[in-house]
Symmetry: C2
Subunit: 462 residues, 2 copies
């Protein structure tokens, strides 16, 4: 892969400028106001594919945002890598906490990124990481070193639950035929401690609405007389955890696979500094389910978090009102073998049952996804491990992550394909937060590492 | 008062049009964006005073919004009525629930107001009710029937806690010398069941902020690891009530004056239909402190209500974020002899003490006010009672109200004056809510009733 590496090394500025162009389009999939930008981004990627020389390039319409497809089949007898990524991004709120505008990328040095990092929404999640694959394939193709076939499937609805991806996969089983799915949408432990994510949590996401009286009321005249929907909502949410921070929804833990003591001991070997962790977040202590370590609570244990809450008067000053309605968005992270649909149903039944008289409750499911675990004795894992070792000089550590990429379980079910998660982001990249960024080191190192995966995956597949 | 009543009867259209002009100015005191409108409203009232022939008319500057003063001393030997009211209004949120724009008043008939009601923010609270006094005095003056001296003190900060009124009163003790303070900023039981408010609850209002991690986090990577400020806030708020819906803040009930069984039996005589109450609000049942009736819970018992809550992602769709901060606005309605400053302090100490490790809590007091009770054996109460009887044909019922007019206790302390609360609004007027309105019947009947108060108060004072 020498020619490939030389190509990468001499095209860094071009790669970066192209990524910055991609980051300038606010492809926020959750907000209908940005639908045109999402569309525009899809076409920009298709243009990249065409320029690169991929075949059958298509912006595939779905009921939602389009999926961009492209492929290069050099020999049907050779293995095929199917690259998945997403070009949509999270909303940028709270926008006032961004130091620079979220869609006007800037390069700035940080303590962790002395060579500079790209600050923009989507810099890491997932435009930056997805784009590494496009550029890695470009480098291999231009250098005549592409060792196997490659297909790209880049979607625009990952941040809103990939609602139309399963149908697309079902309708394109033949077109998507491959030997492995390759994804960069996760992180690694540190720039000198590479790692490969071998487990992901599932997700159940619901929106709840509590209605009390049919109109906003004066809290002086009605306070004490009627159920205040905000007070009731806080009480209902609070009751979802017990004093040990275990989730109280009946049946919630029934299918949770408990790890053996050996597995937990193995996990505990990953480097983790409680003090550094707390210091980085400016908190006195971590918090969560009794009986598990912080790392365990964030990966092998299911959780329930309120992601948003609102109701009543939230402007400046004081207003003495009892609101008619209160709302919350609640997500549950799931572990094998919790089924997201089952969990959503358990939540809905329980949450509705605990509403006191004088209130009405509505629960709307948003989207979900199953947890997934990747075996470390597979060819794909081994190829990834060698690839990281070639560029980082050390073997990557296999880690279970707390995040969810629900499509991993879906791909296995629909396409019969395993996924390998070669993430190059860092926890500190602030994905889903203001000031999201992605290290230039990580961006370039990713582009350099990916070709080695192709090489070793092809060789190990023989 | 025949000439006065004739004058009223022949100037109804003018009175109404003048009120509508007043309602068109969005004098929202809570929102700095409306500061100019608040100012403009003050000057419009001063103009009314001047036209009316009041002396010493002045828009008195304060550190906040101005207080409008005017007086007519016809004979220093006669009694003096000091009219208090406010020209500021509540914010209009949620604005999308208004059928007509809140500051473009319209007259519409309703089931309760077959003669029509004025729909606008401030129609009842308190522009409509305050303006009745201006017009009642106009009618008496133009008819040569003003029987005593009158002073007006109309403020612009009632909806935000009357922060500068006490200082104004302290600096104007001589100017504000009077025999009684007359206020219309309360309601009556029904258009055929007049009532006079003889008790008011006090108020303590705080804003709380819970901070967890120093930035928004991805709920997949951090869920289960750190205290989520929204979950913690819901837990802290929920814990403020016990299973009997009693408030758990240590010391909260220490100074509450419990009513005797006789007093409670007397209260229970006021007409109250549980079914009609629930039906009007579209709720299955009322809700509140165990051991007390709905009417008691809304008047003689202290309460704690969340008036607003917010945090995290509240836009469309789903965002898997753990917010760095969560907020709530919380008000407590107080009864004699709870001191608002003491209660605020108790709240702050308690709320701060229950914050778990990994979170920081900030409590900001907004404003407060003491509860007040008006004796029904006073000259003022008797004069009011006869006045209502003259125009309604029935004696008004004395009632304890759940609302707060903190300035009543303040006036007693600073000016040594009792207040009589001649309210003409109805519970259904939706004050502080979308579609606030005020019956034309109530507006005109108020203007007709007020001169009789002047007459009988003057006569009984002899």
């Amino acid at each position: 892969m020498n020619n490939t590496q030389n190509y990468i090394s001499s095209h860094k500025e071009q790669f970066l400028n192209e990524l910055l162009d991609l980051l300038r389009i606010p492809s926020i999939s959750a907000d209908p106001a940005y639908a045109k930008d999402v569309e525009k981004t899809a076409h920009l990627i298709a243009e990249q594919f065409t320029t690169l020389g991929l075949d059958k390039v298509e912006v595939c319409a779905t009921k939602g945002h389009p999926i961009v497809y492209g492929e290069k089949i050099i020999d049907p007898a050779l293995p095929t890598v199917l690259v998945y990524g997403h070009y949509d991004v999270q909303p940028a709120d709270p926008i006032d906490l961004w130091t620079d505008p979220p869609f006007e990328p800037v390069i700035k040095k940080t303590e962790i990124h002395p060579d500079g990092a790209i600050f923009a929404r989507g810099a890491c999640d997932d435009k930056g990481q997805m784009f590494m694959h496009v550029k890695a394939v470009e480098a291999m193709m231009r250098s005549g070193e592409l060792p196997c076939n490659v297909k790209f499937m880049i979607e625009g609805e990952e941040e809103v639950g990939s609602d139309n991806l399963e149908e697309f996969a079902l309708n394109n089983v033949e077109r998507l035929k491959a030997d492995i799915i390759l994804v960069s949408d996760t992180g690694m432990l540190a720039n000198d401690v590479p790692s490969v994510t071998t487990g992901l949590r599932g997700l159940s996401y619901v929106e709840v609405e509590v209605t009390g009286p049919n109109r906003d009321l004066h809290s002086g005249l009605y306070g004490g007389c009627v159920a205040n929907p905000i007070n009731i909502l806080t009480k209902m949410i609070a009751s979802l955890h017990d004093e040990n921070n275990r989730i109280t929804i009946p049946g919630f833990y029934d299918k949770v696979i408990e790890l053996s003591n050996e597995e937990r001991a193995e996990m505990a070997k990953a480097p983790f500094s409680h003090d550094a962790y707390c210091k980085a977040l400016d908190i006195e202590d971590t918090y969560g389910e009794k009986g598990y370590s912080t790392m365990e609570r964030g990966s092998i244990r299911p959780t329930l978090d309120v992601n948003g809450i609102w109701g009543g008067y939230i402007g400046e000053g004081a207003k003495t009102v009892i609101a008619s309605k209160a709302y919350a968005k609640i997500s549950m992270r799931l572990v094998p073998d919790q089924n997201p649909n089952e969990i959503t149903k358990l939540f809905m039944d329980h949450f509705t049952s605990i509403a006191p008289k004088g209130t009405k409750v509505k629960v709307t499911p948003h989207h979900g996804g199953e947890a997934a675990v990747t075996p470390i004795d597979s060819i794909a894992y081994k190829a990834a491990s060698i690839a990281y070792e070639e560029t980082f000089g050390v073997k990557p550590i296999p880690v279970r992550s707390g995040g969810s990429i629900p499509i991993v379980a879906m791909f296995e079910k629909v396409l019969g394909l395993k996924t390998i998660l070669m993430g190059f982001g860092l926890d500190s990249d602030a994905i889903h937060s203001p000031n999201e960024h992605y290290g230039l080191f990580n961006f370039y190192r990713g582009i350099e590492t990916i070709p080695y995966f192709y090489k070793h995956f092809t060789e190990l597949s023989k």
